[in-house]
């Protein structure tokens, strides 16, 4: 079985309005990924939110290492989630959870 390398990203979601839920944020990133890079990219992305604090907007997402750039680009271009204007700020990437938290 082929081992797929994972990559973690620590981010901060700045917002103007009600905080988007974890589900809403993941859905919006996938929607943008689908729009920009297509179904194969979404299928291969293996994108999940590992941690997410709705109040502070700080979170960690994990995805396939090969698609990290595309996932971040898709997230950065999210202008709003539901009716809340947002600004996605990538903070740090790492191959381990420990690394991304430090």
């Amino acid at each position: 079985m082929k081992i797929r390398r994972r990559r973690y990203l620590r981010f901060c979601l700045h917002r103007d309005g009600d905080p988007p839920s974890e589900k809403q944020l993941t859905r919006e990133i996938r929607r943008n990924l689908l729009s920009l890079y297509g179904e194969i990219a979404v299928a291969d992305s293996r994108l999940y939110l590992t941690e997410y604090n709705e109040d502070s907007g700080v979170g960690i997402l994990q995805c396939n290492a090969a698609l990290l750039e595309k996932v971040i680009t898709s997230a950065v271009l999210i202008g709003s989630i539901e009716k809340t204007l947002v600004s996605f700020e990538p903070k740090k990437t790492s191959g381990t959870l420990k690394g991304v938290r430090s």
């Binding site: 700045h14 950065v76 709003s80 204007l85 947002v86």
Partner: protein, 230 residues
């Protein structure tokens, strides 16, 4: 220093929220259309504000008049990349810092000859991220097409590309890293995107700070010491 050369603060009242967001995103300064006392201003919070003027699209004559009137009062002068005459004049004139691609995007075509003129005079192509945030699907694909084509023409001609947010609302501002990732979508490689976000805006500001200083005479000539003739 991390500088965003195009933040469209709508009113003086909303300036504070843009400054706060800029601080949160790690910016050290941004250029705005709001009238300020000086072209270069450092606030108590440490944020730098730069006065920016966009030349009118209405015609070459009014653009030239506006340039003459505002150059000494503006840290940044930008011209729209619209129409051959306007684009070629702005690309050649060293007083114009940026050729901007703004909405609506369909008329914006950077010609190779214009890009070469701009490269020789040090005028950069400014690409705004905001149109990418406000569109989706097919509409966004058209925006991406125009931006990617123009960016490629600029790079091939040796013209510098600068990425700016073009934010009209606070939440359209992006951090430097976020802008770099947006640059990847526009066909820049990671290293070039870093230069387009981190170094080129700083270079333009430094160049104009020097040009607007009272000791500046012409490029390469400045007064270093004043003395009396015997």
């Amino acid at each position: 220093m991390l500088i965003d050369l195009n933040v469209r603060v709508p009113t003086l009242e909303s300036l504070e929220s843009f400054i706060e967001m800029g601080n949160r995103l790690g910016l050290t300064g941004f250029a705005t259309f709001l009238q300020r006392k000086t072209p270069f201003e450092t606030l108590d919070s440490g944020m730098n504000l730069f006065a920016r003027t966009d030349l009118p699209e209405s015609g070459l004559r009014s653009a030239k008049a506006t340039l003459k009137e505002t150059r000494s009062r503006s840290a940044i002068i930008a011209a729209p990349l619209r129409g051959i005459d306007m684009a070629n004049w702005a690309a050649e004139d060293e007083r114009v810092d940026l050729l901007t691609i703004d909405e609506p995007l369909k008329d914006f075509i950077l010609r190779e000859s214009t890009a070469k003129l701009a490269a020789s005079s040090g005028t950069a192509l400014e690409v705004l991220i905001e149109p990418l945030l406000n569109s989706f699907g097919l509409a966004r694909s058209k925006v991406v097409k125009v931006l990617r084509e123009n960016v490629q023409t600029a790079i091939d001609a040796g013209m510098q590309v600068i990425l700016s947010s073009g934010a009209k609302v606070v939440m359209s501002m992006r951090s430097a890293t976020a802008m770099q990732y947006a640059g990847l979508l526009l066909g820049l490689d990671w290293h070039y995107a870093k230069i387009a976000v981190h170094e080129s805006p700083q270079y333009v500001i430094d160049r104009n700070r020097k040009r607007l200083s009272p000791n500046f005479v012409s490029p390469g000539v400045e007064i270093v010491q004043k003395g009396e003739l015997e």
